[in-house]
């Protein structure tokens, strides 16, 4: 098994628009690695670069010890599942699954065995003689999967493979894909725009925006320690509450709004510029806790979800959301009392939008 490594990889079309700018990452063998970002961030391009469907403009792509920049896609030891599945409409399911084996000149009997084995694994045994158009969306997806698995390559690339399925099937396929990958042990590089998919499936993930890797790490690391405001708001739903706050050196305190001011320890104060972007996730705006400071803000909206309640607050014209467990019946205009879980506060530099400090303790 081989490690996939990208070193200073750049990709630009017609030497103008840079789609990937200086990507550096190492993907471990057997890892489930997710590329996530908004549409147009370059994630699909990065996948296609790894597959060899697109040329690299600068930098190197290394599989194991070998630079594979100029190696043909079929010689890289990869398989790929496309967003639209790319099934051959004129071939049966069996022919679709066996196409790669046939191209590699595998014997007929061996081919048949492998096709049947994989089909059984994915519950496709009854559909082998059908054409893709006679299958449901979920079944087509499985055929695409079977086609990738049957080739037994060490690396599997997937480009938003679940985006054409309905929500229920998607949730099911997530766990099934994950199970399959662990069972067969191949390296998975998985592209999605859906942060929930990224969080629940990936061992590690890379967040891409505007062709730049914003952060690489395990889902929980990224959730808890976002490196910048983009990551902080992209991961997590509802997103992290952000607000520009003024640092008052005299007090010393951070003034968040006309009514909310948090005191700051002197040690921390040294690290802070004149103002910061103050970030806190909705679940860390908690019910008032005895012994900690209690703040007040007017309620502008209440969304009851059954098991939890999203309460929107107005902070000098900006809307913040708190997420409380259970059902809370507040009225719009009422004043809500809450505490801030200070350990979970993220302070970002307003210029660079990079994180300065996690937690209010120096």
């Amino acid at each position: 098994m081989e490690r996939v490594k990208l070193e200073n990889v750049k990709k630009s079309y017609d030497k103008q628009t840079e789609v990937l700018r200086d990507i550096n990452v190492e993907i471990e063998p057997g890892e489930f690695f997710v590329l996530v970002g908004p549409s147009g961030c370059g994630k699909s391009t990065m996948l296609r670069v790894i597959a060899g469907l697109e040329e690299i403009s600068a930098g190197s792509l290394i599989f194991g010890e070998e630079i594979v920049n100029d190696i043909h896609p079929s010689k890289r030891g990869i398989t790929m599942v496309f967003q639209n599945y790319a099934l051959y409409p004129h071939m049966t399911v069996a022919e679709n699954i066996g196409f790669g084996l046939q191209v590699k000149k595998l014997g007929k009997q061996l081919r048949k065995e492998k096709i049947e084995e994989v089909a059984a694994m994915l519950g496709l045994s009854d559909y082998l003689s059908r054409k893709p158009r006679q299958l449901s969306g979920g079944q087509r997806q499985r055929v695409a999967l079977a086609r990738a698995i049957v080739n037994e390559q060490p690396i599997c690339l997937m480009d938003e493979p679940l985006s054409n399925l309905d929500a229920k099937l998607r949730a099911h396929m997530r766990s099934e894909l994950r199970r399959l990958q662990k069972k067969l042990g191949f390296t998975m590089i998985y592209v999605t725009h859906d942060q929930v998919e990224a969080m629940t499936m990936g061992d590690r993930m890379m967040i891409l925006d505007k062709g730049i890797a914003q952060q690489i790490g395990s889902p929980m690391d990224i959730y808890n320690y976002p490196e910048n405001t983009f990551v902080a708001t992209f991961i997590g739903s509802p997103p992290m509450n952000l607000k520009k706050a003024i640092v008052q050196a005299g007090a010393p305190a951070i003034r968040l709004s006309s009514t909310i001011t948090l005191s700051v320890e002197a040690e921390l104060l040294e690290k802070l510029p004149d103002s910061v972007i103050f970030g806190i996730r909705p679940e860390h705006l908690v019910q008032p806790v005895e012994g900690s400071k209690i703040y007040k803000a007017p309620v502008v909206n209440v969304a009851l979800l059954g098991n939890e309640t999203l309460i929107s607050l107005d902070l000098d014209g900006e809307e913040w959301i708190c997420k409380w467990g259970g059902q809370w019946h507040y009225k719009v205009g009422q004043s809500l009392e809450f505490s801030i879980n200070e350990e979970e506060v993220c302070l970002f530099d307003p210029e660079t939008e990079k994180i300065i400090q996690k937690g209010m303790k120096g």
């Binding site: 060899g52 469907l53 697109e54 040329e55 100029d70 896609p73």
Partner: protein, 272 residues
């Protein structure tokens, strides 16, 4: 995917070979159109000079301008008439279906199987009976209805959401207004495709104008070039080729401008 250089070169060589083979007759005719009879006789490839003498002569020996004008009028009228008549029919099949409209549609489509040449004798007698010989009527009216055009536009109209029609009905937009203001503008690509196609085919029509024109009043360029050739071929190929260049120019320009459009429209109509 990067294509190996050797493969790229091979592709360019093949493309060029085919391009030369396809374009050779036209290019050669273009060169001949500048030659004197002596140069043609000697089998020269390049003319001594690019003077437009042959072109002037072509216009002198035949009322080419008149023919060009006739062709232009006939093609434009057929284009407009065909688009209108076909669009109206297609509109009914898609938005105003009634019991039996499918049958009528099949009847229309079945006319594709009747080669036009199989009906030309009665058609000729009919036009003669109307006293339409040597009129624009004879050259245009029979071609307004077209099964191909109706089919092409119907295919495109089917892609317009029927909800739009229902919304228009609720909003009190009349059927005629919906046709003009919504359906036609939304089908611009197909309408242009059909227009270009019918202009091209009408401009190039040969047998029908040959039958129905006996003098210069409405005679088209295609028949003109036949005359030019049979009058001059023995002596002056340069003038004949000049005439050829003049009559192919308008359609070539149209084709080059509308090539993408035409290709897209034709395959859509063909495959669906």
């Amino acid at each position: 995917m990067k294509m190996p250089l050797s493969q790229k070169i091979l592709f360019y060589i093949l493309l060029t070979v085919f391009a030369v083979l396809v374009f050779f007759p036209v290019a050669y005719a273009f060169l001949i159109s500048f030659m004197t009879p002596q140069e043609v006789l000697m089998g020269n490839i390049l003319p001594r000079s690019f003077s437009f003498g042959n072109y002037e002569q072509a216009f002198e020996r035949l009322p080419l301008l008149k023919y060009l004008f006739n062709s232009f009028v006939v093609s434009t009228v057929v284009m407009a008439g065909q688009v209108l008549v076909c669009a109206m029919a297609a509109y009914v099949f898609v938005f105003l279906p009634f019991r039996g409209s499918n049958l009528i549609f099949f009847l229309f489509i079945s006319t594709m199987m009747i080669p036009w040449e199989a009906t030309m004798i009665p058609n000729f007698l009919l036009i003669q009976g109307f006293g339409w010989t040597n009129t624009y009527m004879a050259l245009t009216l029979p071609f307004f209805a077209s099964a191909f055009g109706t089919f092409l536009l119907r295919q495109h109209f089917l892609t317009i959401p029927y909800e739009l029609y229902e919304a228009a009905q609720i909003g009190g937009v009349g059927k005629l207004k919906f046709f003009w203001k919504v359906v036609l503008p939304m089908s611009k690509t197909s309408v242009i495709t059909l227009g270009a196609y019918s202009f091209l085919t009408t401009w190039n029509m040969y047998l029908w104008p040959l039958l129905t024109t006996t003098n210069d009043t409405v005679r088209t360029v295609q028949i003109g070039i036949r005359q030019l050739q049979s009058n001059e071929s023995a002596t002056d190929w340069g003038v004949v080729m000049a005439g050829v260049m003049i009559i192919i120019l308008p359609t070539l320009i149209l084709l080059f401008l509308g090539q993408k459009q035409l290709q897209k429209g034709l395959t859509q109509g063909a495959i669906k």
